[in-house]
Symmetry: C2
Subunit: 416 residues, 2 copies
Amino acid sequence: MTADETITREGLAARDVADPLARFRDRFVLPAGLVYLDGNSLGAMPRAAARRVGEVAGREWAEGLIRSWNDAGWIDLAPRIGEKIGRIIGAAPASTMVADSTSVNLFKLLAAALRLRPGRRIILSEEGNFPTDLYIAQGLAALRGDGHELRSVAAADIPAALDENVAVMMLTHVNYHTGAMHDMAALTAQAHARGALALWDLAHSAGAVPLALAAAGADLAVGCGYKFLNGGPGAPAFLHVAPALQAQIRYPITGWLAHAAPFAFEPGFRPAPGIAAAAVGTPPVLSLASLECGVDIALEAPIDQVRAKSLAQTALFMRLVEERCAGHGLAIVTPRDGQRRGSQVSLRHESAWPIMQALIARGVIGDFRAPDVLRFGITPLYLRHAELWDAVEVLRDILATGAWRDPRYEARRAVT
Amino acid sequence: MTADETITREGLAARDVADPLARFRDRFVLPAGLVYLDGNSLGAMPRAAARRVGEVAGREWAEGLIRSWNDAGWIDLAPRIGEKIGRIIGAAPASTMVADSTSVNLFKLLAAALRLRPGRRIILSEEGNFPTDLYIAQGLAALRGDGHELRSVAAADIPAALDENVAVMMLTHVNYHTGAMHDMAALTAQAHARGALALWDLAHSAGAVPLALAAAGADLAVGCGYKFLNGGPGAPAFLHVAPALQAQIRYPITGWLAHAAPFAFEPGFRPAPGIAAAAVGTPPVLSLASLECGVDIALEAPIDQVRAKSLAQTALFMRLVEERCAGHGLAIVTPRDGQRRGSQVSLRHESAWPIMQALIARGVIGDFRAPDVLRFGITPLYLRHAELWDAVEVLRDILATGAWRDPRYEARRAVT
């Protein structure tokens, strides 16, 4: 649609009919009466996941018991799903593995990065990066001692901060708070030009935006299974190590599944060749099986179509907010430039918390991010354009009527 | 039964009828025609687990979506299950947490232990400890540098090896290979007398033998959810930190769920008070929910009854093997002294691999541990005495007929 075309719900419904991704919506369970705009926090459930988890429990575990590690291929799940995610993120073959949580994988790769750049003391990151990235770096720097430290600078200052003391530049590709997206190739090249490694957190990117880790020359990456990959609550995470680094890298956590011959039960650790050495312990099979269902859908969906629809939907949402919610103190935080934006829209409002609670109470599920942001994730695989119209109508009504000024929306909950 | 009483299958079946734990068998799914003696590797599936996992996927995830972190209490699962496991292992309240894998938890606690004993350089362990314990210690020592090292000695030499350079004594309570059990209280006291911390791996103990971590003065512990706790394949693991250490301990992996206010998204890490700081990242909810079902059964079963039946069944199995399989080259590895034995029987045989494959082909599921051990786990919650008779009959027949000398039993598989 052009900027001067009038938007109507009917027009949007017609776009949904013509949507080349429309067929994917039915691959997910979406409760009636909800507009789900939190797939960037927890993706919706693929129908296949419920079936698959039932089969893993009721047949593979219950009937197959220990034999299922071989007979049902449990032992292959983590590397196989890793390989599939590798294709989603544009990584070289045999460079991506599923293991642990994003936080643990960050620790593994950051610790390895410091060892690959001995003498350099700085982990360079961005102010406002997702806290676990900063915390993990702080914890590692404290563990290492020897003057290692995390240095966080504003996004614009990253290139200038890349000096000969930076061991690794650790950035989140799409910012969880603002939805702003970095230029991975450009920043990676700048890091390399100063001798630093580039570690990318793809938590808000994998499955949402086109990624080309190999082409960008990214050294290391981690990412999350339960956001745009729709892997299920707390799904295992992934990590990537560029092939050129695999022969030299030394992981800090050397668990038995990373051994060259785990079932030889040798007393001394010998790393498995390649990316297999990035594993640690026995992975949670039920959660892995669920993750694979989400990953399989992401592999099937043409990422260019996903991206085109994501850009159209984020632009639509911003325009509707501007047109229909003007004068209520909302500010759009997410970049207007599509090339600089991931797949979410963040709105700032001084009463963001109760407004989001009021939205949720009316079936529009986004989330709140401290201190003052309303966050709306756009998942093109299952989100309709007309739903964005409906969501903004609810937002408009809540703002116009002041319905959010209700004491019950003030109470904070554990997880937001 | 006394040593001179003749054992008959009928007599054993009568014992099964009188077994006070008999009612627990029906809480698990056990395939017809199998004798399952590998619950020390992967416990059988509680019937409740299949239901619960279906509910978490089909209702809490699919319908509740992100709201289930609060509304379905996902955020409380790991600490709640940890608290339950704490009761199973005889730990103080608020000292046990579910998180990550056993290997990752070992890393976290070993790294913390070295920081609690600065200046001491040795991680003391036992030759023949489970390899991941040794590998994790080796990896950590290499990461730390500064002369830190793993020193592994024979079990009998541990007390003498406890010198003023030992930071932490890391032992597995019940050995995975032999089934031999350490005296936790005595060794912990000896470690403390030399100023060392005691870290216990309870992988083959939790749910299988009475544990009293608080009474034993154990400082640190880790353990596994998928063995005698029947939590499901790759179920999340647990870790324990004695209350007296919780104010000083510094974990190396400081993820966002360990923050005092994870949803404040502060830029600097501040650890949560108490055991909550032992968390790292978002836990795998499907696998956690399954784990809780196994843990709940373990909490219900009186551990003294479990232990009495375990000792009777391990003794029975050894006696039947001696009486009925004599002359075929089997040697019993597991201690005869009940006080020194966990809940498994290990038999040595130079052809252990093909013999175990022949057993499995005939429905007797144990496992092989390199280089030459047949391992049989005893899970009193679902194992009948008469099944042990049947298992030994199959073993006797395989040995007497030489049925294991079949080429198809020679081929090794990925996981054994």
